[in-house]
Subunit: 409 residues, 2 copies
Amino acid sequence: MPQQSPLDVPEGDPFGPHNLPYGVFSTPQDARRRIGVRIGGHVIDAGAVAEALGSPYAGVLGAPSLNALLAAGRTTWHDVRRALTAWVTDPGHRAAVEPHLHALDEVTLHLPYEVADYVDFYASEHHATNVGRIFRPDGDALTPNWKHLPIGYHGRSGTIVVSGTDVVRPSGQRKAPTDPAPVFGPSIKLDIEAEVGFLVGTPSELGEPVALADFREHVFGLFLLNDWSARDIQAWEYVPLGPFLGKSFATSVSAWVTPLEALDAARVAPPARDFPLLPYLDDSAEGVEDGGFDLHITVSINGQEVARPPFASMYWTAAQQLAHMTVNGASLRTGDVYGSGTVSGPEAGQRGSLLELTWNGRDAIELAEGKRTFLEDGDEVTLTAWAPGPEGTRVGLGEVTGRIAARSR
Amino acid sequence: MPQQSPLDVPEGDPFGPHNLPYGVFSTPQDARRRIGVRIGGHVIDAGAVAEALGSPYAGVLGAPSLNALLAAGRTTWHDVRRALTAWVTDPGHRAAVEPHLHALDEVTLHLPYEVADYVDFYASEHHATNVGRIFRPDGDALTPNWKHLPIGYHGRSGTIVVSGTDVVRPSGQRKAPTDPAPVFGPSIKLDIEAEVGFLVGTPSELGEPVALADFREHVFGLFLLNDWSARDIQAWEYVPLGPFLGKSFATSVSAWVTPLEALDAARVAPPARDFPLLPYLDDSAEGVEDGGFDLHITVSINGQEVARPPFASMYWTAAQQLAHMTVNGASLRTGDVYGSGTVSGPEAGQRGSLLELTWNGRDAIELAEGKRTFLEDGDEVTLTAWAPGPEGTRVGLGEVTGRIAARSR
């Protein structure tokens, strides 16, 4: 029997009606940016459907970015998702929805939200331990604060780019221990960091911390994020004030944001904690749901898989990061993004950066095109992921991809 | 003879027609935010005057923030300033201007621009040396990279507040070397950092560095900035990824932005450089104007002067910071703000932080209310500054002030 409608996605499709991630798209025929919801291999023009159906959400869904929806708050997020679910599953809605479907390969996807602040964390114990061993072989792998707070720092919001955007190889200063003075040139240690990003919807007041248990009141959803890193630039600049130009040239994010509600079946307990946590970070307390997400990430270079980082292994959770980020009274804004930090598991094949996979260039990995320590011009890196969904389904996360371009001048 | 018009500011007024800083204000009678230009003790409703005169700048001056003017670029900045100068000096314009004057003490001043990214530098050799001696008494005061690049890091844009906003004392983790584990509570080492902020108008393309000589194409003006810092929180969190919660709770900026053109007489050569600079930072090259600004800053606590940091002593200039910030291809956006870093001169009375003035609390300073090491609840900190203007005048910078409030819960 032929498929009756693009809404009849095959059973087992990770972008079935249990998923429904949000993006922003335009088409060759209509350059207006508008909110799209992904179903199988198609995108629903959500604002157009809402308009056609006289939905009360025509306003937030008719906007050119997700920010109005993000700002509307948790109750609206839930209600909009319920409406979308009805649109794609209730045969009575088909006639209204089908005229507003676009094949995924015929649309252009855009950065779906206006980024406010961007914070990047460092929450994988395996990653932080590997980095510590590589850069401080004679010291303790983890700094003394690492298990007491989720270490983070602010990144550059203005260079967050949507999946598919080329990444121009950055130039900068580097200095090998044997160099008498720093030299300038294109980075020779261009790397990736496989991460998960979290998107803040509901803002908070300046001076008012956000409690661990209020994570779902503020965070709308998550997405894959590649925090491109120039290790040579970073190594020379980062003492004492942290990474700056080694990270600020580009951060790629998926075009699709998966709402937290689609990931209820993926919630898992974080690893056992080695030290007692201060109350504002203590997620063993009553009323705090499991903070981990069982996301299975795959890192590919030029189509060839190089690692499978398991997000469930992260020591610090996104809820702890949110509580920490605001405990000093810092306010949240709609569109704030924060990254989990590089996801690395305990096994060698689970590392989310080339720094770790090649042990800072010592052990090259083999690709079909030849060996790699760090990225070469023309290399394309893709992150994909899935998570367990309801009733044995899988929830697909939107991919994030980027190709390395040489500087034009 | 009585003063004829508020436009007849007394000779020697640092906010005379040679200055004309920009802000955004509202009045009790009219809550709309609109662009104001300061002349003496008055604010000109610039959009209303432009409208009344049929000026071509009624659009950019009629906006609720400076961002449209910032985005309009250098030629427009120059032409608008020329128009404003005519409005306040040409008697033929008085009848059109005077109805749109408001006494400064009858308006509410707002954050005058929407902040995009915020970067903070660390550009005073005296400050960095003092900090190094305090925190690393057995090591070199300056890190090896310090004289090769202007060290900087990203801060939190969303907690930039306008002068006059109370600053809630942040809580967080701290750990004295003798503590077995970190403790949580309100910061006990709340400090200031007297800085100068720079405001980006013209954006740049991702992947395209901005040359040192193009500083004036991109930067619209400058203002005083107080980068509040919780030293105890910062000391425990900042290794290895830099300051985070110790800084992100509030950054206060002046309500007035002084255009670069008002500071032409204040340009000075920076200090002699101790190491040759890489070409992208070399401001001894042909065609690069003097990068320093001879700004004389005063720091007061509760009305009592505690320091006079001289901005002319900064090792790295704002033009070098801009070139460095973009050399990796990072793009600029309209509304990007960057801070100079704490301004400290070579003398003890020229230090721009309590960390330095009290040598991390060892040597209390005397105020009328008693001794201070760090800030107490209720303390009010004010930064003011002036610079040489044309023909022996002084250009006043708008003050930045903030009072410390205890956490309400």
